[in-house]
C-alpha cells in the first residue's frame, strides 16, 4: 500500500508529495518510543500522538516509511524538515488511533 492510498478528507499529508509514494505494510500504534522501537516491524505505518522530533529518529532506526499523527496532533516545521530529509511521510488526522486502524482495515489498507 502507498501512503497516498490513506489520504481522503480526514487525513492530511505534511511532507512533500514525493513521500506520498512511500510504501507501507501493516501498522503499529503506540506513544512510547522505546516500545515502538522494540515492537514495530520494518515497513509499518506508525500511528502515534507524539510529535517530538525524535519520533522521526525512531522511524529512521526502525525503517518505518510513514508516521500518522492522530487526535489532532500536528508536526512542527522542524519535524517536517527532518522527515523530508529522511524521506519519511508525515500525516495527521483528528481521528483516534483506534478509529484510524478500524478505518484502514475497513478500506482494506491493512
Amino acid at each position: 500500500m502507498l501512503v497516498n492510498d490513506i489520504l481522503d478528507s480526514r487525513y492530511r499529508i505534511w511532507t512533500v508529495a514525493e513521500t506520498g509514494k512511500n510504501a507501507f505494510s501493516g501498522c503499529y500504534a503506540g506513544d512510547l518510543l522505546s516500545v515502538v522501537l522494540k515492537s514495530a516491524k520494518a515497513g509499518n505505518l506508525l500511528v502515534t500522538i507524539i510529535t517530538n522530533i525524535n519520533t522521526v529518529a525512531v522511524a529512521v532506526l526502525a525503517d518505518l516509511p510513514a508516521i500518522l499523527f492522530c487526535e489532532g496532533a500536528v508536526p512542527s516545521g522542524e519535524m517536517i524538515r527532518k522527515a523530508e530529509e529522511e524521506q519519511i511521510a508525515l500525516l495527521s488526522t483528528g481521528l483516534t488511533s483506534v478509529e484510524v486502524i478500524l478505518d484502514l482495515v475497513r478500506r482494506s489498507l491493512l
Binding site: D31, L32, L33, S34, V35, L37, K38, A42, T48, I50, N52, I53, N54, T55, A57, V58, V60, L61, A62, D63, E78
Partner: protein, 146 residues
C-alpha cells in the same frame, strides 16, 4: 583492523539532537553492507543509550568502533548515576520526568531493550557517572548483505 572510529558529544535535555549519533551510526552500518538484523540491533541499543544520556544525565559521550569482527559501542556520562542498576533493569521501571514522558520517553524499556539487542553488555555506575559498554559480534551472514 579498525574500520570505524567515531566520537560524539551528547548534550543533556536536547531532544532535537537526541538520536543523531545513532542515526549516523545506522547510515554508516548500512553503507558498510551489514545485515538488516545486525543494523537494527546495534541501532536500537545505541539509540536507547543515547536517549538515556539526554534524559537522565548531565551530558556525556558516545564512541563507536569496529575492530575486526566486533562492533563496540561505549557511552559515558557525567552523572548523577543510576542509584539501583538492578531496579533500572526491570521492565517498566523509569525515573523519567513529566517532560520526557510527554515526549514519548520513559517507558522503562531502555536498558532492557539494550540488553536484549547486544551480545555483551557491561554497565557500571556511581554518583560520578555511568559507563555502558556494548559488544556486537559480526557473523559471516551479517556481512556484505546490503
Amino acid at each position: 583492523m579498525i574500520t570505524l572510529d567515531r566520537h560524539f558529544v551528547i548534550v543533556p535535555n536536547d531532544y532535537n539532537e537526541a538520536g543523531k549519533a545513532s542515526s549516523e551510526l545506522k547510515r554508516t552500518l548500512k553503507r558498510m553492507g551489514f545485515s538488516r538484523d545486525l543494523i537494527k540491533r546495534v541501532s536500537v541499543a545505541s539509540y536507547e543509550a543515547e536517549i538515556n544520556i539526554v534524559i537522565h544525565s548531565l551530558g556525556g559521550t558516545a564512541d563507536f568502533k569496529i575492530i575486526d569482527d566486533i562492533i563496540y559501542l561505549q557511552f559515558i556520562d557525567c552523572g548523577p548515576g543510576i542509584p539501583d542498576i538492578e531496579l533500572a533493569m526491570q521492565e517498566g521501571y523509569s525515573t523519567a520526568n513529566e517532560v520526557s514522558r510527554l515526549n514519548g520517553f520513559g517507558a522503562g524499556m531502555g536498558l532492557k531493550n539494550i540488553k536484549k539487542a547486544a551480545d555483551d553488555m557491561i554497565l557500571v555506575s556511581d554518583c560520578n557517572g555511568t559507563v555502558l559498554k556494548l559488544k556486537f559480534y559480526i557473523r559471516e551472514d551479517d556481512k556484505n548483505v546490503g
